[in-house]
């Protein structure tokens, strides 16, 4: 019986306000954590993989130019 006056006194609004506060907490947590974790890790991993591959290729090219250059010339003949 004591519940009815509480509802009439704005209990519904207080309930909605409490739920809205929870939604704010959820939104703030998602924003803060994603900001801390940075961009999608997939993108980071792909970028790191590409950089590693590019470095590897550059290393191989250098090795070919220094030692394998003669081989290439030989093949051209």
């Amino acid at each position: 019986m004591a519940e009815e006056p509480a509802r009439k006194d704005g209990g519904g609004a207080q309930l909605l306000g409490s739920l809205a506060a929870a939604l704010l907490i959820v939104a703030a947590a998602i924003w803060a954590v994603t900001a801390r974790l940075g961009p999608t890790s997939i993108a980071e991993l792909e970028a790191a993989e590409e950089a590693a591959e590019a470095a590897e290729e550059a290393g191989e090219e250098k090795a070919e130019e220094s030692g394998g250059g003669r081989r290439r010339r030989g093949r051209d003949r």
Partner: protein
Amino acid sequence: MEEFLVALTRGNVTEVKIVLATVVALLAAYQVGLMAVGYGKLRLPFLKPLPASKAHRAIGDSIVAVTLTVAIMCIGYFGFEDDAALHIVLAVALLLVLAFKIAVIRRMHRLNRLLPALGISVFLLFWATWFSAAAEHLV
């Protein structure tokens, strides 16, 4: 299962898990505040005990759903690895205490006096579980 989770999160299983775990850990702290108002331990001019208790129940239902999602993601993707023993023990304890608390709320009403202790235990276990896994990526 692993492939499904990777596809669902576009390869960000750990990141999604961290976000969801952080959300429920923060909501658990909010839940303690709501029940402090609900039990009359904390008096606020803008929030009465009844709406605080109702909000606690509604948010609690959501927390359980998200917690189960995180648990399924964790077990489905990582399994039970030896190096995560502490995390596994804490998470299992959390799920057991949470299940018992829900049973007390819905069926075992004669044990209602245990609810404050169970609620605080659930809150502590949420944070302990979070610290044992997600914290290393954020702190």
